[in-house]
C-alpha cells in the first residue's frame, strides 16, 4: 500500500463548498481519474482518504491537503496530470508526494498562513499593527459562541488570542485597503478562524467595511509548507 499527499487549491465559488462535500468530490475525482485507490474492507467499502486541517466556509485557499491510499504505485507526475484533467476548474493539484511518515496529515498541519484583505477608510496601519502585537504578545480575550449539538444550547467560551496567533502584520496597499499577513495555530485544542480574527479587530474599535480571506499555506511544526 502506498500513501500520497496532494496539495490542492480551492478558489472562487468553491469556497462555499463544505469540508465534507470536498471529501466526496475528491473521491469522485479519483474515480474519474481511474487511480488504483485502496478501499476499506467490509460491507460498505469506502475509499481510504484523509484530509488536512479543515478550512472554514467562505475562505479560498492555495494550500489545502489530502491524503490518498493506493494499492499500486503510480508515477507522481502522471497522478497529478490525471487528477487535474478531471477536477472542477477552480481546483487544481499543485503537487503530490509519496509519504511514509507516521504522523497523520491532520496533525502535520500545525499552522495556517492567511492573507486577509480589509477594506476600510478608517483604519490606520500603525494603530492596527499595535493591536496585532498586543494580540500576539499579551493576548486579547474574546468570547466565542458555539452550538452545543447534544444539548442544543449556545455555549459561550472565553478565548485568548495569545495562544492562537503566531504571527500577524498589516501592510497598507492603498488608501482604503490593507493586507494582513497572519499565521494561526491549527491544533486540536485551539484554532482561530479568519472571521473570529475580524471579530476581535471590530471589538477593539477597528472598523472593517469588507474583508476577504485567502489561506496561503498549511504549515508544519517548523513553519514550512507540508509540501512545497
Amino acid at each position: 500500500m502506498y500513501s500520497v499527499i496532494c496539495k490542492y487549491t480551492k478558489m472562487g465559488d468553491l469556497k462555499f463548498i463544505s469540508h465534507l462535500d470536498i471529501l466526496r468530490l475528491m473521491q469522485r475525482a479519483v474515480n474519474r481519474a481511474k487511480l488504483p485507490a485502496k478501499y476499506s474492507e467490509g460491507f460498505n467499502p469506502h475509499m481510504k482518504t484523509s484530509f488536512g486541517y479543515p478550512l472554514s466556509l467562505g475562505v479560498e485557499s492555495l494550500g489545502e491537503y489530502f491524503e490518498l491510499q493506493l494499492v499500486e504505485k503510480v508515477e507522481i507526475n502522471k497522478l497529478i496530470v490525471d487528477l487535474n484533467a478531471v477536477m472542477p476548474n477552480k481546483m487544481k493539484i499543485l503537487n503530490a508526494v509519496y509519504y511514509d511518515g507516521k504522523e497523520s496529515l491532520m496533525s502535520l498541519c500545525k499552522y495556517a498562513e492567511y492573507l486577509i484583505n480589509i477594506e476600510s477608510t478608517k483604519i490606520n496601519t500603525v494603530e492596527l499593527n499595535k493591536l496585532l502585537n498586543v494580540m500576539i504578545n499579551e493576548g486579547v480575550i474574546f468570547t466565542k459562541e458555539k452550538r452545543n449539538k447534544a444539548k442544543k444550547k449556545i455555549v459561550k467560551k472565553e478565548i485568548n488570542t495569545k495562544n492562537l496567533i503566531h504571527f500577524a502584520q498589516a501592510k497598507t496597499v492603498n488608501e482604503n485597503k490593507i493586507i494582513i499577513e497572519v499565521v494561526f495555530k491549527t491544533s486540536a485544542d485551539g484554532s482561530m478562524k479568519a472571521s473570529d480574527f475580524i471579530k476581535v479587530l471590530e471589538e477593539n474599535n477597528i472598523v472593517v467595511d469588507y474583508f476577504n480571506a485567502l489561506k496561503v499555506e498549511s504549515l508544519n511544526a517548523d513553519l514550512k509548507p507540508i509540501i512545497e
Binding site: 469522485r28 474519474r32 460498505n44 477536477m87 472542477p88
Partner: protein, 616 residues
C-alpha cells in the same frame, strides 16, 4: 450580470450556499458573443430535487451541444435565500453566467408536480418578470413549460407562453432554432408564436378561448388564431434506441436526492395500471439495446466518477434483456466498487435472482407496491398482481436474510370499500407472519414492515380521469382507521396528508378557472406547497372562496364520459375510447392483459405517429 460581490457576502448567510453557485464539474460555460439563443432551464423546486431529475440533464446537454445555444440552470431558491435576495435586490439569476433571468431569450420550466406551480410564479417574480403572460411585452423572455403536468396545461394558461407537449428531445431544438430565426428576422413575439404553433407538440394557450356551460362544465373551445391547430398532438420519439443521451452529467457538490448516474433503459410501460398517468402518457413501450446502454453507462461513469449507477424506468424488469444488461454491468464495475441499482423491479422469481446479485454487498430494504389490499381492488386498478405474487417474493426475501420491507398502498381508489381498506392491514400482517412462521433458527434480524398509504389523485389521460376523488373526510376516516387498527410494534404505518392530495387533485384536473386562484394564492404567500412545512391549506381554501371557484367541482365530482374535459384538445396517442373502455372494465373489476401478452388496441398505432408500438 448580477452584483456578484454583493452575492458573495450574502451567501454565507444562506443555508447550503452550494445551491446557488454553480461551477460544478461538467457545467457548461460558453462565450456569450457566439450565442444566438440563451435558454434558462428552470426547475421549480430546490437544487437538490432539480439536480436529481434526469430530464434536466438530458435537455441541458442536448441544447448545449448546439453551438448557437447556451442552456443554463436555475432552481427555486429556498426560503432563506429568497428573503436574502429580496432584501438585497438580487434578482433570480442562472447558475452558469450569473446573469439575471430577464436577460435570457427563453425560460423553460419543467412541470413535474402540480404542487410546484406556485414556485413557477415565485421564480418569475424573483426575476422581476410579470407572472401573467399578458403583462409581458416583447422585451421579456419567452416563458415555456413542459413535463408530465403540462399534459393538462390549462391551470397555467395565463402564465406560460408556450407549452411543449410530450417528449422534448426533438421539439425543443425545433423551437429554439425557430427562436434564433425570430431574432435574426426581428419578428415580434406574436409573429413568432404563430409560427411556433405549427410545430407538432406546441400549444400556445393565448390562441384559444373556452366557453362554459351554466353548470361550469366546458361547452366548447374556440380558436382565436387561424394558425392554431384544433388538436395539439403530443410528441413521441420513434427511434428510442438512437435518441440523444448525454455523455456527461453535472456532478453536484452537495448531496442531492439521487446522487448517482441514471440510465434510462426504457420508456413507457406495458402494464396499463389504470391510475398511472405516466403509464398512459409515455406509451408505447420502447427499450434501448443492451450495447447502447453499456456504452452510455461507461461514458457517464467515466465522466462523473459516481459510485452508483441506477437503471431507471417505470418498470425495469420489463426490459427484455434486463438480466443480460445487469450482469454485464455488474461484472464490469465490480472491481471499481460501483454499485448497480434497479429501483422499479417487479418482484418475481427471475428478477429476484437479479436483486440478490445486485445487493450482494449491502442489503438495503425491499420495496413492494401492491397498491391495494384486496384482489378485487387490485383488479379494479389493473395491477395484475395476485396475493401469491406479492407474498412469495417476500418469503424468498426473508429466507435470503432481508428483514426490512416497505409496502406502498393507495387509499381512496374507485369503488373502494371499508373491506378493501382493512385488507391493507391484513396484507401487512400476512407479511409479518411470513417472517415469524419460519423455523426459529432461520429468523434473523429485526423485522420492520413499513406500510405507506397515499391518497389517490385522479389524473388526466388515465381511465380514472372521470372519477370522484374521495372527500378529505373519507380520506381521514380511512387513514385513521388503519392507524387505529394497525397495532403492532413490527408494523409501522404512515399516510400522506389528504389536504395536499386534495389541492393536487384540483390542479391536476383544473381548467382555466383555477388559474387565477393559483396566482392569488401565490400572492398570499403560497409556495413550496409540496413541502409540508410550507403548505398553507387554509390560505388555499380562503383563496378559492375569494375568487369564487369551488374546489370540489374539480376534485370530488364524478364526470360523465360525455363531458368535455379541459385537456380533451390534446392528443396523447392513446384514444379516449380506450380510456372509456378501461374505465368501464375497472368498474366491473375486469382486468386487461399487459401489452406483452396481448395488444388491447389503445390507439397509439393508429394515429399519424404511426407504427411506434412494436408489440402489436
Amino acid at each position: 450580470m448580477i452584483n456578484t460581490k454583493k452575492l458573495d457576502k450574502l451567501l454565507l448567510k444562506a443555508e447550503k450556499p452550494a445551491r446557488y453557485i454553480g461551477s460544478e464539474l461538467n457545467e457548461i460555460v460558453k462565450n456569450k458573443v457566439d450565442i444566438d439563443v440563451r435558454f434558462a432551464f428552470a426547475f421549480p423546486d430546490v437544487y437538490e430535487v432539480g439536480m436529481s431529475h434526469t430530464g434536466m440533464h438530458i435537455l441541458y446537454n442536448l441544447l448545449n451541444e448546439q453551438e448557437n445555444i447556451w442552456c443554463e440552470r436555475v432552481f427555486a431558491p429556498w426560503v432563506d435565500m429568497e428573503n436574502i435576495m429580496r432584501e438585497n435586490d438580487i434578482p433570480l439569476y442562472a447558475l452558469e453566467s450569473k446573469d439575471e433571468l430577464k436577460e435570457f431569450d427563453i425560460i423553460g420550466f419543467t412541470l413535474q408536480y402540480e404542487m410546484s406551480f406556485t414556485n413557477v410564479l415565485n421564480m418569475l417574480d424573483l426575476a422581476n418578470i410579470p407572472v401573467r403572460s399578458s403583462d409581458r411585452d416583447d422585451s421579456m423572455p419567452l416563458i415555456i413549460a413542459g413535463g408530465p403536468c403540462s399534459s393538462n396545461p390549462e391551470p397555467l394558461y395565463n402564465v406560460i407562453d408556450i407549452f411543449v407537449m410530450g417528449e422534448a428531445e426533438e421539439v425543443i431544438l425545433e423551437l429554439s432554432n425557430l427562436y434564433a430565426e425570430k431574432k435574426k428576422n426581428n419578428l415580434t413575439k406574436d409573429e413568432f408564436l404563430e409560427r411556433a404553433c405549427h410545430i407538432e407538440g406546441i400549444y400556445v394557450p393565448k390562441f384559444y378561448d373556452v366557453v362554459y356551460n351554466e353548470d361550469n362544465t366546458i361547452k366548447e373551445r374556440v380558436i382565436l388564431n387561424e394558425n392554431a391547430p384544433k388538436i395539439v398532438k403530443r410528441r413521441i420519439i420513434k427511434d428510442f434506441d438512437n435518441i440523444y443521451y448525454p455523455k456527461k452529467m453535472i456532478v453536484p457538490y452537495i448531496n442531492t436526492v439521487h446522487d448517482r448516474v441514471v440510465l434510462e433503459i426504457l420508456r413507457g410501460c406495458i402494464r396499463g395500471c389504470r391510475f398511472c398517468q405516466a403509464g398512459m402518457l409515455y406509451r408505447p413501450f420502447r427499450e434501448k439495446k443492451v450495447d447502447t446502454l453499456v456504452k452510455q453507462a461507461e461514458n457517464l461513469i467515466d465522466a462523473t466518477g459516481h459510485e452508483e449507477l441506477t437503471l431507471a424506468s417505470l418498470s425495469s424488469s420489463d426490459h427484455s434483456c434486463i438480466c443480460d444488461l445487469s450482469t454485464q454491468l455488474l461484472e464490469k464495475y465490480e472491481k471499481r466498487k460501483i454499485g448497480i441499482s434497479l429501483p422499479s423491479l417487479r418482484l418475481d422469481s427471475i428478477t429476484f435472482d437479479l436483486i440478490e446479485k445486485l445487493q450482494e454487498v449491502k442489503k438495503s430494504g425491499l420495496t413492494f407496491a401492491p397498491e391495494a389490499g384486496t384482489q378485487r381492488m387490485r383488479d379494479v386498478i389493473n395491477k395484475n398482481l395476485t396475493e401469491e405474487q406479492i407474498l412469495n417474493p417476500v418469503k424468498t426475501a426473508f429466507d435470503l436474510g432481508w428483514s426490512t420491507v416497505k409496502l406502498y398502498f393507495m387509499i381512496g381508489l374507485p369503488t373502494e370499500t371499508t373491506e378493501d381498506v382493512m385488507a391493507i392491514k391484513d396484507l401487512a400482517y400476512k407479511v409479518k407472519d411470513l417472517f415469524f412462521d419460519r423455523p426459529k433458527e432461520d429468523i434473523k434480524g429485526n423485522l420492520r414492515v413499513t406500510v405507506s398509504a397515499a391518497c389517490f389523485v385522479p389524473k388526466p389521460f388515465t381511465p380514472f380521469q372521470w372519477v370522484a376523488q374521495n372527500t378529505m373526510e373519507e380520506f381521514y376516516d380511512k387513514a385513521k382507521m388503519l392507524d387505529r387498527e394497525i397495532r403492532d410494534k413490527k408494523v409501522v404505518y404512515n399516510y400522506h396528508a389528504p389536504k395536499t392530495s386534495y389541492i393536487e387533485a384540483v390542479f391536476a384536473r383544473g381548467d382555466r378557472k383555477v388559474a387565477d386562484v393559483l396566482i392569488k394564492a401565490w400572492e398570499k404567500g403560497c409556495k413550496f406547497d409540496g413541502w409540508n412545512e410550507w403548505f398553507k391549506f387554509n390560505t388555499w381554501m380562503e383563496t378559492f372562496e375569494e375568487i369564487g371557484v369551488d374546489p370540489d367541482f374539480y376534485a370530488t365530482r364524478r364526470r360523465e364520459t360525455t363531458e368535455n374535459l379541459p385537456w380533451d384538445f390534446i392528443d396523447i396517442g392513446v384514444e379516449k375510447s380506450f380510456l372509456i373502455k378501461e374505465y368501464e372494465q375497472s368498474l366491473n373489476a375486469c382486468t386487461t392483459p399487459n401489452c406483452k401478452e396481448k395488444c388491447s388496441n389503445c390507439g397509439i398505432n393508429k394515429k399519424k405517429i404511426g407504427g411506434v408500438c412494436t408489440r402489436v
